[in-house]
Amino acid sequence: MGGFSPVRGQQSRPSEYQVKAVYLFNFSRFVGWPSQAASEPLGPFAICVLGKDPFGAVLDATLAGENIGGKSVVARRVAQAQEATNCRVVFISSSEEGRLKEILGVLDKASVLTVSDIPRFSQHGGMIEFVLQGDRVRFEVNLASTAEAGLTLSSELLKVAVAVRRSAQPGG
């Protein structure tokens, strides 16, 4: 079971990136990809990390044995945005903050869910941005970006999002 254990106190808390790894997988379960895109990339359901990998072995451990829509889920590390177009989910590492505009420009054309913890990621056209509230990991959603990419987000997901942007606010 890949669920998060809401144990308060006592047990040792999971680390920030353990939580984020689980969330990356869970986002996939609440997102719908266009059917054309779903049928095109044959092979496993890839969750990619672009740039310097903050997860390490945690992500692989989290995704091991999981599958979505009958496809087994695998973790990949990519260095270039171009390589990430075949991925379903791309986590953009904070190491790529400087190249963010360029990366998003590349990925906009592919049906890829972009996630990052770069501050104001969603304001820059990123789809899901991790934010920390105290020690709790939350997220913001840019619905305009996902709609543009042809991705559908479950209303359930939006319900638990800290903020949902509905109009494109490039720049900002």
Binding site: G3, P6, V19, R29, F30, S154, E156, K159, V160
Partner: protein, 482 residues
């Protein structure tokens, strides 16, 4: 009239129909209510299950992204479901994640558990039902939903059913009364008619009426027909009895008249015979005496003896005729009733007897103040005959005792004449009072055998009875009553 505590047939029938319909309805209502409540319970559980499924799918994201506030908001929607007492979302490891309580005093279970392979479970506790539902999202066990609901709606439903049942029961009972009143006529009316006929017959003794069987059920028709048949038979029997009685009365009258005529004839005959016999008898006696006086010295000793015997025989015959005339007289004489002093009579008879036979040693005990109601002349004959009888039949004893008195016998008064003379064999007591019947020879005790017959005739004419008790050589007692 029916006895107290007995119920009329129609009342019984009415009660029976009410009872039958009420029982049937009660059973039907109970079965229906039980079935409906069972189904309703199932429906409540089904509703709860649906609610749990909805809550589950609405809480998936909250569970997955660790957002208890969102789950709490989802649960808050239960305010619209007033029967839900408390609800709780548990994470996959069974610990509470978000909860909802309708009122402060309730709190959900601290842990949710389901068996392996079990997706949902419910149980009842007093007036509540609990349900645990496993939240599964895309094949993954994500958490649990716990719901606790009261069964108030069930209780309200039950109350409503009971009310409805009572109304239906009352209504149907009234309907049963109405229907049975209508039906009663076909059963009770013929029976009441029959009872009325029977009562009128027993009161008026009129057996010619008939009960009517029209419109009665088959069994009652049979009863009425049998009743009528019985009446016919009674009537016929009555007629026969009446005819027999009339015939008998007629025959008795006829015989009585014949008997009276024969008796009268006989009395007239015996009177005339007795009377007419005297004349030739006097001639025989007179001429015998004349012959004795005129030619006595010319006749031999033997011839004179024969004449003496002729004269004795004529005297005896004269006595016989006197007695027969007496018997006829007491039968025909007019009765003149009055108070009679029997003691005085007995004393005067005793004096006469002593005078006629002064040599006898007889002790006479005569009770004082013995009285009777009757004809003095006739009763004198009775006392005379009985005392003479006693005097005569004690004559063979050197000394004798004769007693006259009265006694109480079976509540009525009896008179008696008692002696200690020759007595008689009780076997012949029946012949004692017949005319010319004698138990002793004329040589032993002279007499005609008419005296007791005369006494009996007189006693019978007074409506009384006479009888005797005796033993040979130990005396006899004659009793008589009026």
């Amino acid at each position: 009239m029916p006895a107290a505590g007995q119920q009329s047939l129609s009342r019984k029938l009415t009660r029976m129909s009410i009872l039958v319909s009420a029982t049937a309805l009660l059973l039907a209502c109970a079965a229906f209510v039980a079935y409906d409540l069972a189904t309703f319970r199932q429906a409540i559980v089904r509703n709860l299950s649906v609610q749990a499924q909805l809550l589950g799918s609405n809480s998936v994201a909250a569970l997955v992204f660790n957002d208890p506030e969102s789950a709490t908001n989802t649960l808050a929607a239960l305010r619209a479901a007033p029967n839900v007492v408390s609800a709780c979302v548990y994470s996959a490891n069974g610990l509470p994640f978000a909860e909802y309580v309708r009122t402060k005093e309730v709190s959900p279970a601290p842990r949710a558990e389901l068996g392996e392979g079990e997706e949902e479970r419910h149980w009842f506790r007093r007036d509540e039902v609990m349900l645990v539902h496993r939240v599964v999202f895309q094949g993954k066990r994500t958490g649990f939903i716990y719901l606790e609901s009261d069964l108030q709606t069930l209780g309200e439903r039950l109350k409503r059913y009971v009310m409805i049942s009572i109304f239906v029961l009352l209504g149907s009972s009234m309907a049963a009364v109405a229907v049975s009143t209508a039906l009663r006529k076909t059963i009770v009316k013929p029976i009441e008619d029959l009872a009325a006929v029977a009562r009128s017959i027993s009161q008026e003794r009129n057996y010619s009426v008939r009960a009517v069987a029209q419109g009665a059920p088959a069994e009652l028709s049979v009863l009425v027909e049998a009743f009528n048949e019985m009446l016919v038979q009674i009537e016929q029997r009555d007629r026969e009895v009446r005819e027999a009685r009339d015939g008998l009365e007629h025959r008795v009258e006829l015989r009585t008249a014949e008997l009276a005529a024969a008796n009268k004839e006989l009395e007239a005959f015996s009177y005339s015979v007795s009377h007419d016999l005297r004349v030739p008898l006097r001639s025989i006696d007179g001429f015998s005496l004349a012959l004795m006086e005129d030619y006595g010295d010319k006749l031999g000793e033997e011839a004179r003896g024969h004449f003496e015997r002729i004269r004795a025989a004529t005297r005896r015959m004269g006595l016989l005729i006197d007695d027969m005339l007496e018997l006829a007289r007491v039968s025909r004489a007019e009765m003149q009733r009055g108070r009679v002093d029997l003691s005085g009579m007995a004393r005067s008879v005793e004096a006469e007897l002593r005078k006629a036979d002064p040599g006898r040693r007889v002790e006479c005990v005569i009770a004082e103040g013995v009285e009777a109601e009757g004809d003095a002349r006739l009763l004198r004959v009775v006392i005379d005959n009985l005392l003479q009888n006693a005097w005569k039949y004690t004559s063979k004893h050197a000394s004798a005792r004769i007693e006259f008195g009265q006694m109480s016998l079976n509540g009525s008064r009896a008179y008696f004449v008692k002696d200690d003379g020759a007595g008689f064999d009780p076997a012949y007591a029946g012949k004692l009072f017949g005319a010319f019947q004698r138990l002793h020879g004329a040589v032993e005790f002279p007499g005609t055998g008419v005296g007791l017959a005369t006494a009996q005739r007189i006693i019978h004419r007074h409506g009384g009875r006479i009888w005797a008790e005796a033993e040979v050589e130990k005396g006899a007692t004659f009793y008589f009553t009026f």
